[in-house]
């Protein structure tokens, strides 16, 4: 059955890009402001990329349970550490910051970053009762190679970033890295809160590392969240305290 309705001309001011950027900055700030404490499981993983007949292979995986509480409390409990060579010594030390601002997601949309990036609306998607903006950003100047270009998806119900894809026009550390092929940051909704879900990055080094090769992936996964569940201060004080 085909239904046709007459066209309706809508008179309404379209939200400008500047207004969207302002709202995203406020939305991200509001997202963080309502978080009092959070607990999640974090997984760090390094995988050698597939090459020819050699499939991708995991090199190391570490899993923590992380507790955070405002203003500045954080504790991480290592649950699992797996290495392809168990006798090897991991040289990377992880420190989880106490903040919950998730700057890795919103670095280009913080108020102080507006002077560093150009922005444009790449598209809009209407999904049920959600209008999702796609905003592209790129650095205003190519001086700093660590400033990436990228694309974010913004849910205008909350004006928070729900997904981000990042690319680098040139290597940020050319003496070590040939290229960072792709970087993806995803969020997930837990209750009323948008929080980090995954961070994935594929990079290529200039020199082939023994048994690691050139191309490898680094990823961080975040799941099993408990937000504003009331983490006791004793978790951060007493080594043997339970949450």
């Amino acid at each position: 059955m085909h239904t046709e309705v007459p066209e309706v001309l809508v008179h309404a001011p379209r939200v400008t890009l500047d207004e969207i950027l302002d709202r995203v900055a406020r939305g991200e700030a509001r997202r963080e402001s309502v978080l009092v404490d959070e607990t999640f499981t974090a997984t760090f993983r390094i995988v050698r990329a597939a090459k020819g007949d050699h499939p991708a292979a995991m090199i190391e995986e570490r899993v923590w349970r992380v507790y955070k509480k405002k203003p500045d409390r954080v504790r991480s409990v290592l649950l699992r550490q797996w290495r392809v060579k168990p006798e090897g010594r991991g040289n990377v030390r992880f420190n989880f910051r106490s903040g919950m601002s998730e700057e890795i997601v919103n670095f280009a949309f913080r108020p102080e970053a507006r002077r560093d990036f150009h922005y444009r609306i790449a598209g809009r998607d209407l999904l049920g009762n959600h209008l999702v903006y796609r905003i592209a950003f790129e650095p205003r100047s190519p001086l700093d190679p660590s400033e990436p270009s990228g694309l974010v998806w913004i849910d205008t119900n909350d004006f928070v970033i729900v997904r981000q894809e990042v690319s680098f026009k040139r290597s940020p550390v050319p003496i070590l890295l040939k290229d960072i092929d792709r970087m993806v940051v995803e969020r997930q909704r837990v209750g009323d809160h948008w929080v980090l879900a995954r961070l994935l990055m594929r990079a290529e080094s200039n020199l082939p590392l023994p048994q690691l090769g050139r191309a490898f992936d680094v990823s961080m996964h975040y799941d099993h969240y408990a937000i504003n569940a009331g983490v006791a201060d004793s978790v951060f004080n007493a080594p043997g305290a339970r949450p």
Binding site: E61, E147, P243
Partner: protein, 466 residues
């Protein structure tokens, strides 16, 4: 940017730490819904909103396809019991020491101290209980012990960093207090005797408190130091060349009690960073010298599409009161006029304007010249004008001028550079090979130089994380 740079640094660290690979444990693909449903402590389910969730899941699926094993969900078997055990046996956790120890060599070479052998030991973390650092060196030239200690702590409150530093000891300082002596200067002095800096000794202590946000910095400091002149003790170098400079400019001997104010601001809505430093030494606080020293600088970066960046920078300095060499302003070197030798001109006033054009593309690749991917070379152009006026710390006649130089005292230069941007220690660190044309009559004949500096080197960076 700092977060991403940290991420890139993380990747770089990983590269440094890994050397073996083999087949990894099998990964289990899980959907986002499944991942949130597994129990590991209390958790909250996502609100049912299928449209947006389906949309994001679809994109996540394509991400899974691209990243493969990296994107696969984790095997959760045993994590509940691992958590229970870890909480009951915290002693088995990787030892997160409250005290972090660091040991590093502390080496230098210049014509007043000669070879300087020593080491530094640090204990603690500035972001936790604070960092205590001690340094001990032996200066072979004058046969003197140098060194000292410091305590530094950094506290973050929201988006604001508060940093406190207390330090004391004995050390040699460059006469040009606006530009510290780097390792490259030591290397030049050691290899070829190209030591053009002037030095003096400081004995005493200092305190400094700083508040920094993403866009601003304010610092307040005080120092109480006995400043003494130094004589040249070492004229040899490894390549047995004639030293570029033998005489060391003598500092005025005296006790300096100085209050220091430092401010920096990233101007909103503009790509400009400004900095204002003001130092005051006065007899009222027990100083042998009385002077006021003000320096204002501004730097900017203006992108020309993806091709290049214009970097205009200006600096203005003015010193009043006792015209002592260690409080003067100096012109010359990588951080000011590249066609002048380091700190070869000085005065109680300084004006400098510099414009760099830095290309972003690898010119070797554009020219189809085979080269390692680790060494992309960029091209640069620069022009600069600078002047000093007032009392000459080198003992020459004072150059006329009160708040500015005479027009005939300005000197100019132009040049080209080949630039390598390694990405460490700072993404904007540039290793430059410069070829210069000093402009104007009676100019020095310096034509080429090698320098290491940050792109915006007239101002201190603001908002970079600890």
């Amino acid at each position: 940017m700092n977060t991403i740079a940290s991420g890139a640094a993380l990747v770089a660290l990983i590269l440094g730490g890994f050397g073996t690979a083999a087949h990894g444990a099998p990964a289990t693909h899980r959907t986002r819904a499944q991942a949130s449903a597994t129990a590991l402590g209390p958790h909250a389910q996502a609100d049912p909103d299928t449209s947006l969730d389906d949309f994001l899941d679809e994109m996540a699926d394509s991400t899974d396809l691209y990243f493969g094993k990296s994107a696969a969900a984790r095997d959760t078997a045993g994590l509940d019991s691992a958590l229970a055990y870890a909480l009951d046996h915290p002693e088995n956790q990787p030892h997160e020491r409250a005290l972090h120890f660091g040991v590093m060599p502390s080496l230098a070479f210049n014509r007043v101290d000669g070879p300087v052998w020593g080491g530094a030991l640090s204990v603690g973390d500035a972001r936790r209980l604070g960092q205590l650092r001690g340094e001990l060196q032996y200066a072979v030239g004058p046969n003197e012990w140098l060194g000292g200690g410091s305590y530094r702590t950094a506290v973050r409150r929201g988006e604001t960093w508060w940093t406190g530093l207390v330090s004391g000891g004995r050390s040699s300082h460059a006469m040009d207090r606006d530009h510290a002596v780097g390792h490259l200067a030591s290397l030049r002095a050691l290899l070829t005797g190209s030591d053009r800096k002037h030095y003096y000794r400081r004995d005493g202590w200092a305190v400094h408190l700083e508040r920094e946000t993403a866009t601003s910095r304010v610092g307040l400091g005080y120092r109480n130091m006995l400043e003494k002149p130094l004589a040249t003790t070492t004229t040899w170098n490894l390549l047995r060349r004639e030293p570029k400079l033998v005489l060391n400019l003598p500092a005025e001997r005296g006790r300096v009690r100085e209050i220091q104010l430092e401010t920096g601001l990233r101007l909103p809505f503009t790509p400009v960073t400004v900095q204002l430093d003001h130092d005051v030494a006065d007899g009222a606080i027990g100083s042998d010298f009385e002077y006021g020293r003000t320096r204002v600088a501004a730097s900017s970066e203006i992108g020309i599409g993806d091709l290049a960046t214009l970097v205009p920078q200006v600096a203005y300095g003015r010193q009043t009161g006792d015209a002592i060499p260690q409080a003067a302003f100096y012109l010359g070197g990588a951080h000011s006029m590249r066609s002048l030798e380091s700190a070869s001109r000085g005065g109680t006033g300084l004006a400098l304007a510099r414009l760099d054009l830095l290309g972003a593309s690898d010119i070797l690749r554009l020219a189809h010249i085979p080269h390692p991917a680790a060494f992309p070379i960029q091209a640069g152009l620069f022009v600069a004008s600078g002047a000093v006026w007032g009392a000459d710390p080198y003992g020459g006649p004072a150059r006329p001028g009160k708040d500015g130089p005479r027009s005939e005292d300005w000197i100019h230069e132009a040049g080209v550079s080949l630039v390598y941007q390694p990405g460490i220690p700072d993404p904007t660190t540039l290793i430059r090979f410069n070829y210069m044309w000093p402009l104007g009559p009676g100019r020095e004949s310096r034509r080429w130089s090698i320098s290491i500096s940050r792109a915006l080197d007239l101002v201190k960076p603001i908002g970079e994380e600890e």
